[in-house]
């Protein structure tokens, strides 16, 4: 499944870059995140709950920044398992200045879901994944634009 979108964020590019490449911060925008454990500068582990409709399960995701070109381009790959299901995700961000204190973030996300969730929830999955992805990027924008964000 491929998703993409553009977000206009009311924050300067450096701050957006710092947020989206910080495992702790960016993970807060994941769905139902239960823990984040940073291994090194580019690798971290996230435990999150996700699913389709009533079929929900806990995924353990290995996340790695595969490309980092500050402050304009990042690619992150996440691969995870849950009993009977597996997910693989590649996300890219392109950041561009959009006037003073504003940043345009173009993002794209390729998601492959395998196993029970994909086969049992096939009819609902595209919609559910689309909604989830939109939520993640809306959350990033919201977090960065929140009044408190400047001081974080």
């Amino acid at each position: 499944m491929h998703f993409e979108g553009t977000a206009d964020i009311g924050a300067p590019r450096e701050r957006v870059w710092a947020f989206v490449t910080d495992p702790e911060k960016v993970s807060r925008c994941g769905p139902d995140v239960q823990s984040v454990a940073v291994s090194d500068a580019t690798h971290f582990k996230v435990v999150a709950r996700a699913g389709v409709g009533p079929i929900r399960t806990t995924f353990t995701l290995d996340v790695v920044f595969t490309e980092l070109r500050a402050p304009e381009h990042a690619a992150v790959r996440a691969r995870g398992q849950a009993p009977g299901s597996a997910v693989e995700m590649t996300n890219t961000f392109e950041l561009a200045d959009a006037g003073p204190g504003r940043t345009t973030m173009r993002w794209a996300s390729d998601v492959t879901v395998s196993g029970m969730i994909a086969s049992v929830g096939a009819r609902l999955m595209q919609g559910a994944a689309d909604k989830l992805t939109q939520q993640v990027f809306a959350c990033i924008k919201e977090q960065l634009e929140a009044p408190a964000a400047a001081t974080r």
């Binding site: 398992q81 597996a86 395998s114 196993g115 086969s119 096939a122 009819r123």
Partner: protein, 783 residues
């Protein structure tokens, strides 16, 4: 008399129903042994992946989990692979790579069913995904990833099979006036038996005896396979007992050996405890062997006057990651050579390529005698397309071309000797019964009003009863039929067969054959099947073979008893055996009906007063090697109405005329036809298993995989003609699969007929409302 004894031709009530309707059947999951533990299976979420690591520690830490078995544990036992019934091999558990979604990855053994499931969830497997091949046509391209790296042949082709005269066929095509060609896809479907697969295995470490209760259609073959697969571990065939208790539907899905069976036996050997494994519904739909999945390109050449001359068929068969179907060894594409159907083609050429894909094994004979459904669908669809091309009535075109009754036995151009048939008789009866001419008039009137009504015909010929030993074996085991009859001193009989009922009513019908031959009431005859310790060796029930082979063995064994009984009767009647005749279900002195002995009297004498020079007792065994296959046939006519708003196809009427030769029990035959028609309606309109590009099964639950219920099923109308098989001892041919084979084409032909005036020539099954509505929109007639 025949009515009283319940012999051939009588609708004797099914003996087995006494327990089934009371809920007293005994299925594998009803078997409960003291100290029994439970096995559950970890399955792959990926369709193709390398296994990086399996961590069993968390599962083993759960109280009640006794063992976790992985592929690596099976390597020292040489059990990580097993042979399939098709000469391929299949993973029991993978050591490094999984090849389809839901493939077995590890097994958990625990004291409770639910603890085993918790253990499955706690096994952590790390995978590295590999490229997935879903489309069998792309799988044959030179750059396709090779799925089976374990093979010497580094591509995805499993085998190529062909039959017929290629050059002669090509020539006939060149010389013909009209050629029609159609791509036809027959989708992958699942048998969806009510009972899923399962096993209870009990290994006795002291005497080395293994007893298994399992859902199998072929218990003896399974016993031999276990001995072959695990012989090196000390499991010897005489110490293995396979019991197939009541089976809740087989339909071919319970012929293969699934890894779960091997794991259950292994777990019992490992723990010394009885182990039970029962699939859940999702596992049954997602991981067990599939049927159909044939990508067919079919061409038919004819003269202008409609005479069919030649047939050319090319097929790609998706067999999944392991070739684990159960076709007879010499026929990897089964009996697809029956594709010339009910017509005397001068020439034909058929070729099939079996292909590996990242899907569970496919190719099982789902309620058909090895690819006969695919063949019947292709030819009957093609005949309708020719009728459309020539602007001929499809009934008329068939009647013009049928093999005539006087031509039997008929040798088909692809080498099958059809034993008997009267195809025009069956079609004319169906046309008469349904009122064909009136329906065509009604259709013409409705078409003027813009209403969509279609009439579809299917005049199919089957090839069943595998089979003669010169052609038919599985793993080298010849496909004979077997029966043992013991008549006890009080005139009651026990009959044991090497086939296995899964709902067909064998306990009744085979009893009726014996009743007819021996003159004993059917109530006094007990039929037993499915226990390898007692039943004679046999290859089981599938492909409509029970009545053609085991039914024949039953009649022949009974006649052996009758021959011996004649000596005893002669002794009792103080006459020469030459003066004794079998008449009115009794031994009589010729011309003196008053001097007679019943079989019960003879049986008593066989144990109490047998003549000198004749062995005591009254028993017989027969291993029947059929001289030929049998060729049941029929003509079906279906009437559909199409809703121009929703695209829904409504089967308004369906008339089935079947000819299965001599009918043993008309009620059971009618039941078989009703069930078969419903199972033919299902793939025509509803059922299909799809995969996404990543190899995820779509429709892996009954939420998405639509089985017809009473709501979707029309009221079937049936009639019969009777053309006995000339070579079968009682003239029977087998009927269990006729309707599944014949119905899909009749329905598809009816739908296409309803839309033909709009330029529609073909619609792939299942013909769902969505597909029809899309066509209606394209043609601008949707409402």
């Amino acid at each position: 008399m025949a009515v009283e004894i319940g012999g051939i031709g009588h609708s004797v009530q099914r003996k087995e129903d006494a327990r089934f309707i009371r809920g007293r059947g005994n299925y594998v999951d009803d078997v409960k042994l003291p100290g029994m533990v439970y096995l559950d299976i970890v399955r792959s979420p990926y369709a193709h992946a390398r296994i990086v690591k399996i961590d069993t520690s968390k599962a083993l830490a759960i109280p009640g989990v006794l063992a976790v078995i992985t592929g690596k544990d099976l390597v020292p036992l040489k059990l990580e692979w097993m042979p399939t019934l098709m000469g391929d091999k299949q993973m029991v558990l993978p050591t490094d790579t999984v090849m389809y979604q839901a493939q077995e990855v590890a097994a958990v053994v625990a004291t409770e069913r639910y603890i085993a499931a918790d253990g499955v969830a706690a096994v952590e497997v790390e995978y590295e995904p590999l490229p997935v091949v879903v489309d069998p046509i792309k799988a044959l391209l030179p750059d396709a990833p090779v799925i089976r790296e374990d093979r010497a042949q580094k591509n995805n082709q499993i085998w190529h099979w062909e039959a017929g005269d290629k050059a002669g066929t090509d020539k006939a095509f060149r010389e013909s006036d009209v050629v029609v060609k159609q791509d036809i896809y027959i989708p992958r479907i699942v048998v969806a038996s009510i009972e899923t697969c399962g096993m209870v295995a009990q290994f006795d470490k002291i005497d080395g005896q293994l007893t298994v209760w399992m859902t199998t259609q072929a218990p003896h073959a399974i016993r031999t396979v276990i001995a072959l697969v695990a012989g090196h571990l000390g499991l010897a065939e005489h110490k293995i007992r396979v019991i197939s208790p009541d089976i809740g539907g087989g339909f071919g899905g319970k012929v293969p050996v699934y890894p779960g069976y091997v794991l259950t036996i292994g777990a019992s050997v490992l723990t010394g405890l009885p182990v039970k494994w029962i699939e859940d519904r999702s596992e049954n739909i997602q991981a067990d062997s599939f049927a159909r999945d044939y990508h067919i390109t079919a061409e038919l050449a004819a003269k202008k006057d409609g005479t069919m001359r030649a047939l050319r068929v090319k097929t790609v068969a998706d067999h999944g990651a392991f070739d684990a179907a159960a076709n007879p060894s010499k026929f990897p594409a089964g009996l697809f050579g029956i594709v010339t159907g009910s017509y005397p083609f001068e020439k034909a050429f058929v070729e099939v390529d079996g292909v590996y894909t990242n899907k569970p094994p496919g190719g099982i004979a789902y309620r058909c005698s090895f690819r006969v459904t695919e063949a019947a669908f292709a030819i009957e669809r093609l005949v309708d397309i020719l009728a459309l091309e020539l602007k001929r009535d499809p009934a008329d075109l068939r009647l013009q071309n049928f093999i005539p009754p006087q031509a039997f036995p008929f040798m088909s151009t692809l080498g099958w000797e059809y034993d008997s048939g009267n195809y025009a008789g069956a079609l004319k009866l169906a046309m008469d019964k349904i009122g064909y001419a009136a329906l065509r008039r009604e259709q013409a009137e409705k078409r003027k009003r813009g209403e969509l009504m279609g009439i579809g015909i299917s005049s199919f010929t089957e090839i069943v009863g595998a089979g003669p030993s010169k052609h038919f074996d599985i793993l080298g085991l010849k496909m004979f039929g077997s029966c043992e009859i013991r008549v006890h001193p009080t005139g009651k009989a026990t009959v044991r067969l090497g086939v296995k009922s899964q709902g067909q009513g064998h306990e009744t019908t085979f009893g009726q054959i014996v009743a007819e031959e021996l003159g004993l009431p059917v109530a006094d005859i007990e039929v037993e099947e499915g226990d390898t310790d007692t039943a004679p060796y046999g290859l089981g029930t599938y492909a409509s073979r029970s009545t053609p082979v085991a039914g024949a063995a039953t009649a022949v064994a009974a006649r052996k008893i009758r021959e011996k009984g004649k000596l005893i009767a002669a002794h009792l009647l103080e006459a020469s055996p030459d003066d004794i005749e079998w008449k009115d279900y009794k031994y009589q002195v010729k011309g003196v009906p008053a001097k007679s002995k019943t079989m019960a009297e003879v049986a008593f004498a066989a144990y109490t007063n047998h003549p000198q020079g004749v062995e005591a007792g009254l028993e017989a065994v027969d291993y029947y090697d059929p001289p030929n296959l049998t060729f049941p046939f029929g003509s079906y006519i279906c009437v559909v109405d199409i809703d121009k708003g929703t695209g829904e196809v409504k089967v308004r009427r369906f008339f089935a005329v079947d000819d299965c030769g001599t009918i043993i029990n008309p009620m059971i035959v009618e039941g078989q036809i009703h069930g078969g028609l419903t199972m033919g309606l299902a793939p025509a309109l509803f059922e299909e298993i799809n995969y996404d590009k990543d190899g995820n099964i779509q429709g892996g639950t009954f939420m998405d995989y639509l089985l017809p219920t009473a709501m979707e099923t029309p009221s079937w109308e049936t009639a019969k003609t009777t053309t006995p098989s000339p070579h079968h001892p009682i003239g029977a041919k087998g009927v269990g699969e006729s309707a599944t084979v014949g119905a899909p084409a009749a329905i598809a032909n009816a739908v296409v007929d309803a839309l033909a005036h709009l330029g529609v020539r073909h619609i792939d099954i299942p013909i769902t409302p969505w597909k029809v509505q899309r066509i209606l929109k394209e043609k601008g007639v949707a409402e």
